[in-house]
Amino acid sequence: MQTYHFLRSLTHINLTRPSSPLHRRSRAIRRAAYVSMARAASPRRMWTRAILGRLQLLRRARLLRRRRNYKKKTTISTPHDKLRRLVPGGEEMDFCRLLEETADYAEFLSKQVRIMRSVVDFMEAECRKKEEKV
């Protein structure tokens, strides 16, 4: 499921703007990776909702030229701040929930990394073969 979403968005990115600068494309791909992760995961998870919410926000921000500033208001100073910042949507969770979300998030992250790595390898292999052929 995750693969499907990711590949789909990947092709979409490559089709819509193949000539855009590299950094923008890489950003878009990165975003696509996270979104595909979130789509594949259960919406019960806080991090999926956070990612998808961020996506919505990003879209709206593009229209309104506004960054997500208001989201950072809730600052709970805890010893686990670092982890909270890493996991999307981890700011407003208690530590117990945070660990749960981290586990889920890490699982999907690792899956995503594997997908991307396989796609990259595949592409590189194809390119190499093509070069060999040519």
Binding site: M1, R25, K82, K130, K133
Partner: protein
């Protein structure tokens, strides 16, 4: 003071309500008198002395600060009063209970009874407490006596916290806290409701009333001493009851909490400590889960190190995603043009068969399979995995569909080939032949042998790649 009054009133009221056989005279006298006495007794030694003196002098609500050498005398008098209040025949019974309760309440969960005693006795301020053992015993008996409903422990508890309170301030706090908590814990544990016993001690028949009054008074002075627990207890008599209920719900944890809380001296209402304990267990459980997830963390022990490892791992994964996305951005344009077309065309198909995952993969895999078919036909098993996705989607469909799809792919590929897509040219050249060849090859192998599993194919693809 209002708290004391509140407690006293509540206890008195309870006592009156609960004690069917309460002697009218005794409660009145006891509640007021004994309350005052006990309130004062619970105070610091000085206060205790003052309380005793006040006890001796008059049942005034405010114990005048009159510490003095008459402490021992006062205490003895108090003991005498208590003894008179308590029935003799019940004294024998509670004593073993007392000890047992002592052990149960204090030693087992709290491991502090000796501490209490020690704290009390060595305290120079508590010289008059030489009569303590007897006093305590009698008080215990009284309390036990007072707790008819099974508050045999209540007395002890009552006594002990009192003794504790009579001790140092921390001891007092502990004692008061303990008493409070003990009551709650005992209740939670299913014992004869220590708190209730304490309350029943207050509310029970006259003798008990005295004890109860003592309890109330004791609690009040503890509050007066600034022990928030008592105050909190008074405030939340209901809260304590809730805590008790919670403890009843989770007796084993209440035991632990009781121990823990007692050591902490914090108000740490039992409900909080209970919840905290539950939370801590949950956290450790989740940490174990994460330990399994993060590679190479089986030997790590301790939350902090584990947490660092987890943070590092998540950071690593995120960095990998970013790096790979950049890599994909450079590599991508050459290859994935087909995908969209495939996806569009296959959407209907896959919607029909519900084979969602492999769909977009299969054009990709088609290229791979075409490559591999052309190069290494003997690698069919591997390729078949790739081709499986290709084939699997075709499974429900007849071959013509697939070929149709493939052929449909070709025109756009050719179009793309014009845009300097090497792959497009490749497609042009080899796709038909190779794919059809591979397709025919695989069809026999795959359709028969392998069952279609979308996720499996994807994973296989990943594995293979």
């Amino acid at each position: 003071m209002e708290k004391e009054a509140f407690f006293g009133n509540s206890t008195v009221i309870n006592w009156q309500m609960r004690s069917p056989d309460a002697a009218a005279s005794l409660p009145n006298m006891n509640s007021g008198h004994v309350n005052i006495v006990w309130d004062q007794t619970i105070d610091q030694s000085a206060k205790f002395g003052s309380a005793l003196s006040s006890l001796v002098s008059s049942p005034s609500s405010n114990p005048p600060a009159a510490p003095g050498g008459g402490d021992s005398v006062v205490i003895r008098e108090l003991i005498g009063r208590l003894g008179s209040i308590c029935n003799s025949d019940e004294i024998s019974a509670p004593s073993p209970h007392y000890h047992s309760a002592n052990n149960s309440c204090y030693s087992t969960p709290m491991n502090s009874p000796p501490k209490l005693n020690l704290s009390i006795f060595p305290n120079p301020a508590h010289m008059p407490f030489s009569a303590d053992p007897g006093f305590v015993e009698r008080a215990a008996r009284c309390s036990t006596f007072g707790c008819s409903g099974g508050g045999s422990h209540g007395g002890e508890q009552f006594i002990f916290p009192e003794v504790g309170k009579l001790g140092n301030a921390p001891e007092e706090s502990c004692g008061s806290g303990n008493a409070k908590k003990r009551k709650a814990v005992m209740k939670g544990k299913g014992k004869e409701a220590p708190l209730s016993s304490s309350i029943t001690a207050v509310t029970n028949p006259p003798k008990k009333a005295s004890v109860g009054g003592l309890n109330t008074k004791r609690s009040k002075p503890s509050e007066k001493t600034g022990i928030e627990e008592e105050s909190a207890r008074q405030d939340g008599d209901a809260a304590s009851k809730k805590m008790e209920e919670e403890k009843i719900a989770k007796p084993p944890e209440a035991v632990k909490d009781y121990i823990h809380v007692r050591a902490r001296r914090g108000q740490a209402t039992d409900s909080h400590s209970l919840a905290e304990r539950v939370r801590r267990e949950k956290i450790s459980e989740r940490m174990k889960l994460l330990q399994d997830l993060v590679p190479g963390c089986s030997k790590v022990t301790g939350k902090a190190v584990m947490l660092d490892e987890i943070i590092n791992y998540v950071q690593l994964l995120q960095r990998q995603v970013e790096f790979l996305s950049m890599k994909l951005a450079t590599v991508n344009p050459q290859i994935d043009f087909n995908m969209e077309n495939f996806v569009n065309k296959d959407m209907e198909i896959h919607q029909n068969c519900g084979l969602l995952p492999p769909q977009p993969v299969y054009p990709l895999e088609a290229t791979a399979s075409s490559f591999s078919f052309a190069n290494l036909p003997e690698r069919t098993p591997l390729i078949s995995i790739n081709g499986l996705e290709l084939q699997s989607q075709v499974n429900p469909f007849s071959q013509p569909n697939l070929s149709r799809n493939l052929t449909m792919q070709l025109p756009p590929l050719e179009g793309f080939a014009d845009t300097a897509c090497q792959l497009g040219t490749f497609w042009d050249d080899d796709l038909r032949t190779v794919v059809q060849m591979g397709f025919s090859q695989n069809q026999e192998n795959l359709f028969s042998s392998q069952s279609f599993q979308g996720s499996v194919t994807i994973s296989h693809m990943e594995i293979e790649l």
